[in-house]
Each structure stands twice: as C-alpha cells, then as structure tokens.
Point group: C2
C-alpha cells in the first residue's frame, strides 16, 4: 500500500510516517517511480510505534527494540525493561517537580485570598 493509505488506516499523518522512516522505525520498499510501498504488516508496526510514543518514549529509544517486540513478546526483549525503568524514574521526577510548583501556587493563591478576605470574594473552590 502507499503512504496515504497507511496514514488513513493508522490515523498517523503522512508527515509523521516519513519522520518515523527517517528515524529508522519503518522501512518501506521503493517502487520504480520512487513511491514508498508498505506491506500490510506496516499497520501493526505503526500501531506499535504509537503505543510506545504514548508511553513517552522517544523515536530513538523505540528504534532500539522495535524490531524485537514486533517478533516476540516484550518480556523477551532485554532492552525494554531498563527503558521502562528509566522512563518511570523520569516521570516520578516530573511529578515531584509539578507537585512542588502546585504546592507553591496554592500557597500564594491562599495568601492572596486571605488578604482579600475583607473584600469577600466568592470562595467556593475547595
């Protein structure tokens, strides 16, 4: 199938499909006219790429284990677990940072509300 068809089937833009190729994630054959020709299996490949992108992995990281997970169960691919672990640590770090900012924001908001206490502003929020 051609790139436009694959894009329609997967919901991924033509632009993104070309980008994935440039990152080594998917390699269609080329027809005589230069057009990319995708195997029907490419649909599953793209769906798999989407899955890992949604987990916050980069295309570079995905390229390290994609061909393995396409042929085996994840548990068989040794590269996956360490990536999940470091990604999880990354998420935890971001959560801490966001929660710290959230805490500071709420503190300042409370302080403002208190000073405005004389002015009686609504206050239905928590």
């Amino acid at each position: 199938m051609k790139i436009g068809e694959l894009a329609t089937l997967t919901g991924v833009s033509v632009r993104s499909l070309r980008y994935y190729e440039s990152q080594g994630l998917i390699t269609p054959v080329r027809q005589a006219n230069g057009y990319r020709e995708y195997s029907p299996l490419a649909v599953e490949t793209v769906e798999t790429i989407k899955l890992y992108l949604n987990l916050g992995l980069s295309t570079e990281q995905i390229s390290g284990f994609l061909h393995c997970v396409l042929r085996n169960k994840e548990a068989f691919c040794a590269e996956v677990m360490p990536l999940y672990e470091s990604k999880l640590a990354d998420i935890e770090r971001q959560l801490l940072e966001l929660n710290q900012i959230k805490h500071n924001l709420k503190e300042r908001m409370a302080s403002i509300m208190q000073e405005q206490g004389g002015k009686q502003i609504d206050n239905t929020s928590e």
Copy 2:
C-alpha cells in the same frame, strides 16, 4: 551597576538578563558608552522575576503584572489571580497525563515481570 555585577548578585546569567530586557521585564538606562546601568532596585526585580519563572509562568505572562507587584502586594494586582488559576489548571492537566502514563508503564512492567517469572532469566538472547 553594570550587567555583570547584577548577574553575580542574582545568580542569573548575563544572557538571561539581556533576554528579560528584550521581553520587557526590566529596562536599565544606557550610559554614554552604550553600557546598561542598573539601579540597585534591579536586584529585587530580578529576584521577583526568578520567583515567577519558578512558578512556571512565562516571561510574557510575567510582563503583564510585574510592574504592579513590584509596587504593591500581589493581592492588589488583579492580573495575578487568573494567571495562577489557569496555571494551576495546566499543572493539574499535566499531572493527570503523567499519572496516566505512569499507570500504563507500571502495568506493562508488571506484565513483563510476570512472564519472566515462569521462565529463567537466563537467555543468551538472540
């Protein structure tokens, strides 16, 4: 004082001080030789900018109320509270997203551990 001195006093790079100026956050006078000349009050201004940047506000947002909060209490500046509220909503949205990813990651990790539980971790791999 000159820009290098202000940078030392505040811990903000010369590059960043110039950037803040380009964003309209601080406006030093110019000496005859073209050098920026900062008032001693600039130290407090920069510290205030740092504070709001650390709350996740952009320089553009800060520019909207900086001159007010430098002269009054935050509660007096009407622009602040709506910004805090929208920023808080933004943080909450990011927290939800990160927690969703974290949940998915942990689920997949658990699934892998389970599959590896059955067999040996051995595997001289492919």
